[in-house]
Subunit: 135 residues, 2 copies
Amino acid sequence: MNGQFQIAIHILTLLDQAGDDLLSSEYIAGSININPVLVRKEIRNLRNYGLINSKEGKTGGYSLAKASAKIVLADVYKAVKSHPALGQAKNLPNPACAVGRQINQHLDDLAAEVDTAIVGKLTKITLADFSQKFK
Amino acid sequence: MNGQFQIAIHILTLLDQAGDDLLSSEYIAGSININPVLVRKEIRNLRNYGLINSKEGKTGGYSLAKASAKIVLADVYKAVKSHPALGQAKNLPNPACAVGRQINQHLDDLAAEVDTAIVGKLTKITLADFSQKFK
DNA sequence: TGTACTGTAACTTTTTTAATTACAGATGAA
DNA sequence: TTCATCTGTAATTAAAAAAGTTACAGTACA
């Protein structure tokens, strides 16, 4: 469990509030209260998913790559997700045991079903919906 | 992210397959391929939620506390859950910032909604459904 | 009364996450 | 030009979380 999703939502919300103004990693980090390098790392990821634009150089900074009404929270979830929401076993179960031999496959199937449920939920919420709560 | 849910499901599946026979922590640990003490710890938790019976002493071991058709995977999820599925931020956002000041509340609300979706999904699946895949 | 379990605390090791440092590259302004 | 202020990213360190281990008391049966 980590706070990547929360950080990503926080960043995107700030950028939405800022409109066309560019925000610096320093400013964003100050609002979240984390290290600016982590902000830049997370933004690199979100940019790869087409959610954020960045501009280098003196007057550089970040802005949303598209309207917040066009971004659903499931986009953020997918961008950030590294492990299944249910967690992940890191042990190799005993292949000599009938249950151990097959359980990882069945657990993976289950995790995928749960993931689908989460994405279904988060597809119904846009960044604009979320961001609006702060106005 | 950890593997508690997976371990719990593994334990419960083994116990279901064993029927009335008691299984030892040693045996269970051998199937999962983890330390027996971790099995006993997880079972203590599941027992507190009324899912498992244990018997001490020489012929001791573990068994299901009720029929696997009466256990839904949401019971296991709730028993095991320590953090919200979306993760949890551990930083204190900046209270001087309009977004930082309120975001934790809104993120918590969102996490609760997602959690409800997960529980909804996992309430439809019984341990018997899952365990049946191994027969 | 010995054996084979569970129950649990304390501690160590490993893994993961977050923070930090450092610096190259970009861009605009004096 | 050249300085200031950003981003981009690698490398390292520190902190936190998870898993593993050791140890031993308590229980129950033979």
